[in-house]
C-alpha cells in the first residue's frame, strides 16, 4: 500500500468537496455511535466494563515481552509454528516462500490491517500468486485499488453504481444491478469458488491468548472461518500488541470490541484456534503458522508514553466519534490506519516527519478518548508528538519547524517575559498590523502570516494598549 500521509491536506480538501463522501459521513458515524451506546447499555455497568477492558490493555502493554513468550510457548505446545518477523520484508519473505514451497497458486485473505501495513498482497502478486481479499469491503477496495475509507467498513462509501460496474468488469457479474443485496450475492458467488479450492489462507488475529496459545478471529461474513477451515495451510499474522493474558480477559475484551466496532453484542462468528486440526478431522489446517510482526514496535517500547499506542484493539469507535474524520473520511490519513487511531499509530511507525499533518489535524476535543475501550489518551499523544516534532527528536524522527517559525516563537517567548519589550513591540507593530483591518477586524494579512489568518480573525489593535490607557488614567487620578 502506497504511503500517502504527506498528502493529507491535499486529499482532505478533495474529500471535503466530494458530496458523496460528505453525505455518507453525515449519516453513518452518528448511527454507529448510537448503536454503540445502545449495545454498551446491555452491560449492568457500562463504565465498569470499559474500565476493566482498559485495565486489561494497560496490563498487556506493561507485560508485553512475558505475555508474548507465554503465548509462543503454549502455541508451540499445541502444534503451532510460530514465526517472528522484525519487519515487513521478513514477514512477507516467510509468507511468500511458504506459498512457493507448497505450490500455492492463490490465497484468500481474511481482513488483516497489519497485512496492509506490511504490503503482503503486493509481494505475493508480484511473484505470481494471486491474493484475494474476501471481506466484502476489502474486496471492493482492492479491486478499485483504493485505500480503506474506514477501518471497519473499508468501502462503505463507494456508490452502488461504481460497485455494479466493478463487479461486471472484474467479478463475473452478468446482469447489471444497483441493489446492495444482489451485489453482495454476486460477490458471494465469485469468491465462493476461491474458498472451495483454497490451499492456503491468510488471516489477521484479533486476539492472541497467552494462557492457551490460541488465536481469536472476529467477523460477520464467514470469510475468515472459510479461509481457516478450507485449506491445508493457515497463516495468521499478528502485530505484537494483539496478545492478551487469559481466555477470560479475551472474552471480556471481545464484548467491548464488538459493541464499539459495530454496535453488536457479538459478531456472527468468533472462531478460536488452538493448534492445527487433529489427525482425524476432515477439514481445518494441517499446518498452522502464526507470524508475530514487530515492524518498529519494539523500538517504541522504551518510550513509556508512545507505547500506549499499543493498547489499540482496532475497534474503530474513535473514527465514529471524531469530528475531523466525520468531515474528511479515511482517505487523507494516507495509510492502513485512519481516524484518531491512525493519527496515534502512523506517526510512530512511519516517523513524525512523514506524518506532520496527521497529529496536528485534531481539535483535541477528546471524544475519541472518552469512548476508547483500550484507554488511549489520543489528545495527549498528539500533544506529545507535536512537542517531539518541534524539538526534532531523533528517535521519533521529529522534523523541527522551519527557521522562520522557530525565530518568531523565540521572539514571542522573549517578549512575553520582558514587559518593556512587549509594550515596545506592540507600539511598533500597531500601524503595520492595523493597515489590514476592515471594520475593526483583521481577517487577512498577505505574506508571512497569511496561513495563520486563513481560518482566524483578530480584532484591530486599539489606538492605545491597556498599559498606555492605564498610565493615562493613573495620571488623571493623581
Amino acid at each position: 500500500m502506497k504511503i500517502k500521509t504527506e498528502q493529507f491536506v491535499e486529499v482532505a480538501r478533495r474529500e471535503m468537496a466530494d458530496l458523496n463522501s460528505r453525505a455518507f459521513l453525515q449519516l453513518l458515524p452518528p448511527v454507529i455511535a448510537a448503536m454503540r451506546k445502545a449495545a454498551m447499555a446491555t452491560f449492568p455497568d457500562p463504565d465498569a466494563a470499559t474500565e476493566y477492558s482498559r485495565a486489561i490493555r494497560a496490563e498487556v502493554v506493561a507485560r508485553l515481552p512475558e505475555l508474548l513468550e507465554e503465548f509462543e510457548a503454549n502455541a508451540i505446545a499445541r502444534g503451532v509454528k510460530v514465526i517472528w518477523a522484525r519487519d515487513a520484508e521478513e514477514a512477507n519473505d516467510f509468507i511468500l516462500n511458504l506459498a512457493l514451497k507448497r505450490g500455492i497458486k492463490y490465497v484468500t485473505k481474511g481482513k488483516s490491517m497489519v497485512s496492509e501495513e506490511l504490503g503482503t498482497n503486493d509481494v505475493l502478486i508480484k511473484n505470481g500468486i494471486e491474493a484475494f481479499e474476501t471481506d466484502l469491503g476489502e474486496f471492493i477496495a482492492q479491486q478499485l485499488n483504493r485505500p480503506p475509507f474506514h477501518i471497519v467498513g473499508p468501502a462503505v462509501n463507494v456508490s452502488v453504481q461504481e460497485i455494479c460496474d466493478l463487479f461486471m468488469e472484474k467479478a463475473g457479474m452478468e446482469e447489471a444491478t444497483t441493489d446492495p443485496v444482489e451485489l453482495g450475492y454476486a460477490a458471494r458467488v465469485y469468491l465462493r469458488d476461491k474458498f472451495h479450492h483454497l490451499e492456503m489462507g491468510i488471516t489477521g488475529v484479533n486476539m492472541a491468548v497467552a494462557e492457551t496459545g490460541s488465536i481469536i478471529n472476529v467477523e460477520n461474513e464467514g470469510n475468515i472461518r472459510l479461509t481457516k477451515s478450507s485449506p491445508r495451510v493457515q497463516v495468521s499474522v499478528m502485530s505484537l500488541e494483539k496478545v492478551v493474558p487469559t481466555m477470560r480477559d479475551a472474552i471480556h475484551v471481545l464484548r467491548l470490541l464488538c459493541r464499539n466496532c459495530t454496535g453488536q453484542s457479538i459478531s456472527s462468528y468468533v472462531s478460536i484456534d488452538t493448534g492445527p486440526k487433529k489427525d482425524d478431522e476432515i477439514d481445518g489446517p494441517e499446518e498452522l503458522y502464526i507470524v508475530i510482526v514487530d515492524n518498529g514496535r519494539s523500538d517504541l517500547y522504551g518510550d513509556v508514553k508512545a507505547r500506549e499506542a499499543l493498547r489499540c484493539i482496532r475497534c474503530g469507535a474513535c473514527l465514529n466519534h471524531c469530528p475531523v474524520y466525520a468531515t474528511i473520511g479515511g482517505y487523507p490519513y494516507g495509510w492502513a490506519y485512519s481516524g484518531p487511531m491512525g493519527q496515534v499509530l502512523n506517526p510512530l511507525l512511519l516517523g513524525l516527519d512523514r506524518t506532520q499533518d496527521l497529529y496536528r489535524a485534531c481539535t483535541l476535543c477528546g471524544a475519541c478518548k472518552e469512548v476508547c475501550p483500550s484507554g488511549i489518551d489520543h489528545p495527549s499523544m498528539f500533544l506529545y508528538y507535536r512537542s517531539k516534532d518541534v524539538k526534532g527528536d531523533s528517535k521519533l524522527k521529529g522534523k523541527k519547524r522551519d527557521w522562520k517559525e522557530v525565530g518568531i516563537f523565540k521572539i514571542f517567548t522573549l517578549a512575553s517575559t520582558l514587559p518593556w519589550l512587549w509594550n515596545l513591540g506592540a507600539r511598533l507593530i500597531r500601524p503595520f498590523y492595523n493597515r489590514n483591518a476592515k471594520n475593526g477586524v483583521v481577517s487577512h494579512i498577505s505574506g508571512l502570516f497569511e496561513g495563520w489568518f486563513r481560518k482566524r480573525d483578530l480584532p484591530a489593535m486599539p489606538a492605545k494598549t491597556f498599559h498606555e490607557r492605564w498610565k493615562d488614567i493613573e495620571k488623571r487620578l493623581s
Binding site: Y52, R63, E221, R225, I266, S268, I272, T274
Partner: protein, 223 residues
Amino acid sequence: MVRNARDEILGKLRAVHRADVPQRPEVPSLNETAFDREEMIAKFTEALFLQTGVVHRVKDNQEALDKLAEIAKEEKLEKVMASTDDVIAPLDLPSWGKENGIQILTAGDFKDRNSFKDAVFDEVNAGITGANFAVAESGTLGLIHDRDQARLISLAPILHIAIVPTERFVPIYESAIEKVFEDINAVPGQFTFITGPSMTADIQATIFRGMHGPRKLIVILTG
C-alpha cells in the same frame, strides 16, 4: 553474531525496565449469571431473533425430527450434510432422510478433504449440526470442532440447522470457555461461537445476510 528475529525482538522489549503492572479493578458482573434455565432460553431466543435466527422449541428427539421434516419441506431440502456429533448421531438422520426423501451425507462418507469440500460447497443445500453450548447472553451457539463436527458443515451451506438440548444452556461465554479449555491437552483445534446467519453491511451500510456463510440459521431446542 547475527541474532534471530525472535531474540532481537524479545531482547529489545525485555531491555526496557519493567513498569509496575497497574492494579485491575474488580471484574464487572453480568445479569445473565443469575438466570435460571427458562430465563436463559427466553433471553437466547429473543437475542437470536434480533439477528434473524429462527428458534423452535420441541419436547424430545422425535418432535425434533418432525420439526426437521417440516423445515425440510419448507426449505425444499434435497441433499444435506450432517454432523455425527453426540446430538445428531442418536437421531439416526440417515433413516429419517430415507423416510422423508432427503439424502443425508456425513464427513465419513468422503475419502478425502477435496471430495468432502465438493459436496459441502456445491451439492448440499443445508448443514445440520448439534451444538455443545447455547449461550443465553446473546443467542449464541458454541461448537467444538472435531472428527464428528467438521467446520464447514455449519459454514458453507446456505442453510444451517442446529439442534440443541436445553441442558446445554449456559448464561455467558465464560461458562462455555471454562469447559472447552478445562484440560489443555484436550483443547479442540477450533471452537466457534455462532450468532445468527452470516452477514455484512459493507455496501452502503445496507445489511445483507448470507455473505459467505449461511443466509439462514434455524435452531431447534429439545427438552
